[in-house]
């Protein structure tokens, strides 16, 4: 229904459908409606409520799914006995710490429209190098940790320089570095695990709890806060968003595009290094076999995260929910007796689902865009 007084005032009335598109914001914010020289567009209360409902549903659909799966595994006969126990939950969340740090790190490059498929292997490299420094070179606890993180940042820097100087698709570059890292690890370790000589300090850290929560989950929480601050509350993060949105425009706004992207890869590498140290802490041994799906899982988490909270935009809270969603379902299904293959299967399908969802959302956006030209 539209009840508009006729005739319209004598101004060129800009495009009402566009205003409709921004409609949910009316409900959400207390920001004054800025409409000059014309009466505000008439709206039916019903449609406003409908739009609000739709928005909430979309924004929090993954949260609902997370809660639903949580309830399912807590009550389902096959899983309820083990799922909802402190130990089980601790293991589940701790199991997400490494991948979580990787995912949050990869957000930094993805926000600027880049990919890093080498994060998993960077983490693996940091892990094995730190283990080697401890076991074979007798490094102390903290120097080893710092070395692992620095190695991550260094490899990230190589990625960044290659991507920005050669101006090659980061997809290709990081696929290349990922493979090169694997080769290096194989050569360097001769495929031998490093079991002895890992300091107790680091292995304890991988096992201990603080206030009932595993230490490494605290690290994950801290990393989430840091990335959230970086991406949403610093000029640098905002510049990354601008670059990801429109690189040419960012350049004409005086943003140093290449430098920002290169730095994003360094930051990404640093967090991959932290993930590597966490890997070592959890496993208690340096393992030359790097799980091949780490980077893909991180991508799945980031994409899935973009489907909630700030829909269509990569964001930290959404990513956390996505990670928990993956963890709850994979753990739940494993408790239900499904074999280990469910891990990779579920992650892969979630990635495809997330990308499909992103495609649908961006299509909706284009529809809104075309309406605008009415």
């Amino acid at each position: 229904m539209t009840t508009r007084s006729r005739p319209r005032p004598e101004t060129a009335v800009d495009d009402m459908p566009a205003q409709r598109a921004g409609d949910p914001a009316v409900v959400a914010t207390d920001v004054p409606v800025v409409v000059q020289t014309e009466e505000p567009p008439a709206r039916s209360a019903a449609s406003t409520v409908g739009a609000f409902g739709g928005r909430v549903l979309r924004q929090y659909s993954l949260v609902f799914l997370l809660v639903a799966s949580f309830v399912l595994y807590s009550t389902w006969g096959k899983t309820s006995s083990v799922f909802l126990t402190g130990d089980s939950l601790r293991v589940m969340v701790a199991g997400q710490a490494v991948i979580g740090v990787l995912t949050l790190g990869i957000l930094v490059t993805m926000v600027a429209g880049n990919f890093d498929l080498s994060v998993g292997n960077i983490a693996g490299l940091s892990q094995i190098m730190t283990a080697t420094l401890y076991a074979k070179h007798g490094w102390g606890l903290w120097p080893g940790i710092i070395a692992g993180i620095v190695i991550g940042g260094f490899v990230g820097g190589i990625n960044g320089v290659l991507v920005t100087v050669l101006r090659v698709d980061p997809f290709i570059i990081t696929l290349g570095t990922a493979s090169a890292i694997l080769g290096f690890i194989d050569w360097y370790t001769k495929d031998q695990s490093i079991v002895n000589g890992i300091p107790a300090g680091i292995t304890n850290f991988g096992r201990d709890n603080f206030l009932g929560v595993p230490d490494i989950v605290w690290v994950l929480a801290l990393v989430a806060l840091v990335i959230y601050y970086l991406l949403e509350h610093t000029p640098y993060g905002r510049n990354l968003h601008a670059i990801g949105s429109n690189r040419a425009a960012a350049r004409l706004l005086g943003i140093r595009v290449e430098r920002s992207i290169a730095i994003a890869f360094v930051i990404n590498g640093i967090f991959a290094g932290i993930a590597g140290v966490l890997m070592l802490a959890r496993a208690g041994a340096g393992n030359p076999q790097i799980p091949p799906t780490l980077a893909l899982t991180a991508l799945a988490g980031a994409f899935l995260g973009a489907a909630s909270f700030k829909v269509g935009r990569l964001n930290v809270p959404g990513t956390i929910v996505a990670l928990l969603f993956l963890a709850v379902n994979i753990t739940g299904l494993q408790y239900a007796g499904v074999a280990n293959w469910i891990n990779e299967m579920f992650t892969g399908l979630s990635l495809i689902f997330a990308i499909a969802l992103a495609a649908v959302l961006s299509k909706e956006r284009t529809v809104k865009k075309t309406r605008k030209t009415a």
């Binding site: 060129a12 409609d23 605008k372």
Partner: protein, 518 residues
Amino acid sequence: MPAVMAGPRTALAVRGLSKTYAGHLALDSLFLQIRTGEIHALLGGNGSGKSTTIKILAGVVPADPGGEIVLGGEDPVGVHDWTPAKAHAAGLRFVHQQPAVFPELSIAENLALGAEFPRGAGGRVDWRALNARTAELLERYEIHASPKTPLAALRAADRCRVAIVRALQDRDDADSGVLVLDEPTAALPAAEVEHLLDALRGYAEAGQTILYVSHRLDEVLSVADRVTVLRDGRKVDTVEADGLREADLIEMIVGRPLDRVFPAPPVETTEDAAMTIRGLRGGPLHGIDLTLRKGEVLGIAGLLGSGRSELLRMLFGAYAVDGGSVTLDGEDYEPTSPQAAMKAGVAYVPEDRQADALLCGESVRHNLTAGQEASYFRKFLYRHRLERSDAHRSIGDFLIRVVSDTQPVETLSGGNQQKVVMARWLRRRPKVLLLDEPTQGVDVGARAEIYQLIRRATEQGTSVILVVSEPEELAHASDRVAVLRGGRITTVVERPIDAHKLTELMNAAPPNVGEASP
């Protein structure tokens, strides 16, 4: 309203077309009758409903039930049954505002995708036949390129022409059906526009019916037989184009007289130079000498490809300079990057809003403050509240119509998007503002507001260099106009500026064609 009769001379009639977008009536019971062989112009501002009408005709947007579409002498079809396939079968051919052409593919491939690939033995693509057919079409439409040229290698104007050729390629002998052109000349320079309009007139004489949508009133007046004006989703009137004046059309579109669209010329501009350019060379420019006075709007008249955009980009440090000197406020000014230009107080609004200015997916607020984020970051805290109140002030100051400053910028209309881009720079109070086609794809009403904003900026001491393709608009909006041709400034025209004279000066053959550039 009387029902429209679908007589034998009617190529296309629509009856009672309405479209509601989530409660808002974008199109209100439109009746439209288009005669066979006429060029019928559809005019209106953004949001007037003309694009909606075209999308409904194309079958890509479903209309509200109840309306009818009648083609030729055929039976009326209810709009709920209308699909892209039916529209195509009925002989409707569309060239949209942003034509769906494929930049990576060759011209021949682009044309073949609009029709079909000629096949040789075994179903393989017969490239020779395709290229021959394409070459023929390119020659007929005077596009100077080889069929194998990738579309991306063409300038925007030619890409647009390929899209038109693609739509027309299979109907060159048809006198049924309707060719629908949605802003086909939005990116064309004046000389080519005329060329295209000639071609369209030829088609109309051969019996082709054309529905022509454009913002450019002079074009419409020169090419159309009849004009339908829409405002706020309703038809204002359908009138014969004969004897119609531009001012009449503007009044119908905007609902207010012309003298209120362009602001009065400023009281005076000083003789002090804000910027002096001496012997500036680079790209297509062979030595530009130009002085920008303080507080003036200096127009640059030049055809597409004359180097007008490159000139602005050089002054913003975004295009390589080969030589020459520039001073800004009496001091040497050699920007090597946009950062340096911005620091010196120069601002630049690029020609292509979508590609070079808007941060789509980001909020209006972020778009307004883009590039200035550092000023909101103090003591490791981002001052979101300060940024928000600044954004609100800018939204009010620069007449931007939004629902909220957090809405994504791409949900605004073209005019409001452009005002966001303008505001982004004007809020910094630049010394020199470089504007490249600031009113492209903007309706008359918003255009008036953009010129108001420019005038207000000059009153506050900003000096403006303005590039606009349309001579009429340039003449109205500028204090002086410099004519750029052959890589040099050939003349500077003072007020009163005559649009026809500008057109002549822009198009006149360069006097020293053989002259080598120093």
